[in-house]
Each structure stands twice: as structure tokens, then as C-alpha cells.
Symmetry: C2
Subunit: 194 residues, 2 copies
DNA sequence: ATTTCTAACTAACATTTGTTAGTAAAAATA
DNA sequence: TATTTTTACTAACAAATGTTAGTTAGAAAT
């Protein structure tokens, strides 16, 4: 009988916090709300976390780290630019489907990070955007993509992917796989030259 | 000498509130924050507005009404489906550029509307989405568009447009007109059949 | 000139907020 | 077994919240 280690309390707190932050916003969620969801008094949570700010910090930077790592991996792959962009879009959608609440928080509530960490976060995000935009620009230079404005293309892609959280329900006619295919078709038929 | 009627206090409050809600969220903005921006004590604002909720209500429904009106107008125009979609996208972007903070609030903070009004708001939005999706579906049926999933197409469009608020600064290399052109190109080259 | 209305103010209210202190039971370690 | 560490609790805190009450100076209306 293999023992399944149940997740430590800290992680449960972070997960429940992410769900609540997604639904009610960072400012709209109280420590008592989170505690209620976890099944504990608000004060007890301070045995596992340092502060409300730190909860937000953990969620945002965990996601931001994943994004950066994905970009670095894709950059090293021996693929065409079109394929690299496809892979990145797939990774975006997969992360959204698997880790929805946390991604939502990283997308919406990062601005409530305390000052020092806020600039760190925006720097990381700009770095990601720069790397992604470079792939698009190189793809244009290589003749794979139409001569669109790379920034507009980048944000159109990021935006389209970001809203998956709002209209995707796992059981609802479309599977995650189909969703990926449809979005990629919609986006890249406009991006790739024919 | 023509007299320029300066806007009534109520409108100033709504405008400043929209800016603050956009930057700090509804929950993150206090009545004292708004009052400070308007140049007045928090309590004084209650001569012009009924409650904090009512501020949010005014902003959200003003924008929602504009969207619905735009849709109704476009539906009546004697245009192809491709052109109708183009017009709708242009109207979206224009509203965003002209009335940015209010649109942001209607996009992000509507969920903090009190219960009764919240369902009214989501109903209105679903109505808009339904009308827009119908245009896409009819365009497909008419052979103007590729046979994409209309829902995916709709949300890709709405999402792409929605993020204009995040990266468009009026003076910044791209004009509003160019922005419109680029986004439409990016989106419709994937939507229109060739 | 007198009254009424408008719009600002100060003071205060009851809640709710994030967080700390102190304590006790339970678990881990010796 | 004895001791230390972990984790939960209750109680309380100071600060911030949306809002009301009461008041007052000036503008508009009579």
C-alpha cells in the first residue's frame, strides 16, 4: 500500500487563496475568507505563511517562472518559427487549463504586489514578451509569417489565450485538445504566409 | 464668448472613480481615495451619488448600453458580414481609446455589482455575445468566413480587442487608426476566406 | 429680504481588515 | 519516556472601510 502524501497545509492555503482571488479579487478576499475555505482560523494560517502579500507573491512568481522556463525551452528547440509559436500557444493554454486560478491571479492581481516585487514581476513579464515578440519578428524575417506588426501580433496571441479562463469549462462540448487546435487555427491562419 | 458648461460634480466623481477602479480595482479603491482625487471629503460625495455600489453600477451599465446599441446599429447596416465584423471591431477599439477607464471597469469589476444588477449585467453581455457570434456564423454560412468554431472566433476577437487598454498609449508610435488596421488585419486574415 | 435649496464640512458610527500575543494540544524527536 | 517543535486555538489590536448625522456657508428662488 503506497502512501500518498497529502499536500502540506501551505500548499492548500495557496490553492484556496488562488481560487478566491480569482473570483473576488485580491482586495475583495479577506484572510478569514481563505481560512474558512481551508478549514482553519485566520490566525492559524500564519503558522504556514508570512502574510497576505506573501501568498500573492508565491502565486504570481510561481506562474511567472513557469512562463520564462517555457520560453527558454522553446527557444532551444530545433523547430521552425511557426512551430515554436504553436508550441508556446499550446503551453499557454495547457497551463491555463491545469492551473487556472493561479494563472488568473498572475494575470489580474499582480498589480497588488508590494512595490519592490512589483517591479521584479513586470520586468520578468517584459522579458517574456520580448522573447516571444523576437520569435515573431524572426519568423517574419524568415518569410514564414506575414509582415504584421510583431507587437500587435504578440498581444493578439497573448490576449486570445488569456481569456480561455473565462469561457472554458472542462466538460463543455470542447475538449482542451480541440480548444488548442481551434485557437491556433484562428490565430495562425492570419499569421502564417500562404 | 461661448460659455463652456463644466461637467457636473457627479460626472467628475464617476470619471475619477473609473480611473481609480482601473488602477487599483473596486475593492482596492476607497471612497476616501476617490474623494481625494475629486478634491472633496468622502462624506461630501454623498450629495451627488447614492453609494459606492451605485458608482460601479453607473459605469458598468453606461458601457454595456453602448455596446448593445453598437450591435443593433451594425446589424441594420447594408453590409457584408465581413464588413459588419470589421465595423464592430473598430467600434470596440474606438470606445476603448476614448473611454478607456470606464471600459476597463466594465470588463474587470462588473463582478462586484450587487446581486440583482449582476445578473442583469451578465444577461446583457450574453446577449451581445450571442448577436456577435450570430454574425460570425452567418458569415460562415454565406461562405465569407472560414469554417471556424464561431465561439472561438468570437472570443478571440473580443479578447484581442480588450487588451488594447494594456498596451496602447496614445502618443506611442502607433496611432489609434493604425492600431485598428493592424488588429483587424491580424484577426480577419484568419477569419476571411481567400 | 426672506426663505429654500445645494453642496460642502467635521465627527462619529459600526464593521471589517491584517496581524500579533499568549496558550494548549498533538506530533516528532531525543 | 521526556522534551522539543509544530500547529491549532481564542482574544485582542490598531487601522481602514462605507456610510450617516448634524451643521453651515453660499446660491437660487420667492
Amino acid at each position: 500500500m503506497t502512501k500518498i502524501a497529502k499536500p502540506p497545509k501551505r500548499q492548500i492555503i495557496l490553492e484556496e487563496a488562488a481560487k478566491l482571488f480569482k473570483d473576488k479579487g485580491y482586495g475583495g478576499t479577506s484572510m478569514r475568507d481563505i481560512a474558512g475555505q481551508v478549514g482553519m482560523e485566520a490566525a492559524s494560517m500564519y503558522n504556514h505563511i508570512k502574510s497576505k502579500d506573501e501568498i500573492l507573491d508565491s502565486i504570481c512568481f510561481r506562474i511567472s517562472d513557469v512562463y520564462i522556463a517555457h520560453l527558454r525551452e522553446v527557444e532551444e528547440l530545433p523547430l521552425s518559427f511557426g512551430e515554436k509559436v504553436r508550441v508556446l500557444i499550446r503551453l499557454h493554454i495547457q497551463l491555463m487549463v491545469e492551473d487556472g486560478p493561479a494563472v488568473s491571479v498572475a494575470n489580474h492581481d499582480w498589480k497588488y504586489l508590494p512595490n519592490a516585487r512589483l517591479t521584479e514581476f513586470t520586468t520578468a513579464r517584459r522579458q517574456y514578451e520580448k522573447g516571444f515578440a523576437a520569435l515573431i519578428a524572426e519568423g517574419i524575417a524568415a518569410g514564414e509569417f506575414q509582415a504584421v506588426n510583431p507587437t500587435v501580433a504578440l498581444f493578439t496571441i497573448l490576449s486570445a489565450v488569456r481569456w480561455v479562463e473565462l469561457w472554458f469549462q472542462p466538460g463543455r462540448s470542447l475538449s482542451a485538445q480541440e480548444l488548442e487546435d481551434h485557437i491556433i487555427t484562428m490565430l495562425l491562419k492570419g499569421l502564417e504566409q500562404r
